[in-house]
Symmetry: C2
Subunit: 113 residues, 2 copies
C-alpha cells in the first residue's frame, strides 16, 4: 500500500489546497485582486465592488482571513482590510512550486490529436 489509508496528506499539500480553496470562488478572487491593487481599503469599498449582499461579502472576508490571505483592522466605525503580505508570499511560492513541478513532455494520452 503506497499510501497509508489514514486519511491524511502532507502538510505542503494541505496548505496549497487550503490556499486554493480560499481562492475557489469568484467573489473571493475579486476581493483579493482588488486588495492586491492597493494598499488597503474599507469593507464598504469592497462591498461596492461585488454583486452580492454585504452579509455574504462579510462571510467571504472571514474565509479569506481564516485562510490567512487578508487581515482586517477595526477603525471605528469602519473596518480596514488588506492583503496579508507574509501569507500572500507563502501562497505565491506554493503555487509557483506546484506549477514548476511539471515535467516537459512530448505527447500525452492522445497521440492522434
Amino acid at each position: 500500500m503506497a499510501y497509508p489509508k489514514n486519511k491524511t496528506y502532507d502538510f505542503d499539500i494541505e496548505e496549497l489546497a487550503r490556499f486554493a480553496k480560499a481562492m475557489g470562488h469568484p467573489a473571493r478572487i475579486s476581493i483579493l485582486r482588488y486588495l492586491a491593487s492597493m494598499d488597503s481599503c474599507f469593507f464598504g469599498d469592497i462591498c461596492r465592488e461585488l454583486p452580492i449582499a454585504k452579509a455574504t461579502v462579510s462571510q467571504h472576508l472571514t474565509e479569506l482571513k481564516n485562510a490567512g490571505l487578508i487581515r482586517g483592522e477595526i477603525e471605528p466605525p469602519k473596518v480596514r482590510y488588506c492583503i496579508d503580505q507574509e501569507n500572500w508570499e507563502k501562497a505565491h511560492e506554493a503555487f509557483r512550486q506546484f506549477f514548476a513541478n511539471m515535467q516537459p513532455k512530448d505527447i500525452c494520452c492522445n497521440p492522434e490529436d
Copy 2:
C-alpha cells in the same frame, strides 16, 4: 448556489476561480502533483497513492476533468490519465498573473507590528 443570473463576474475571474476550486482539495492536489511528475498513468496507480476509496478518487478525477486540468483515455480494461497540457499552461499563467498583480508596499494595516 451558482451566482444568481444577474450577478456575474468577469471571465478571467471566473476562470481563475474555477481552476482554484478544482485545486481546493488535498486529494486533487495529490493527483495533479502525481500526474505532473510523469507522463501518464492508470486509474489504479492514482488510487494506490490516495488514502480514500476508489469511488471517491473517481469523483475527484471527474472534477479535475471538468475543470480541464486532466484528461482520461480508455485503454481497455484500464483508463490512462494525464495532465491536460494546454489548460495546465492556462492555469499556470492565470495564477502567475494573479500573484504578479500584487503591488509592493511598505507597511499594511498594522504599523505597530
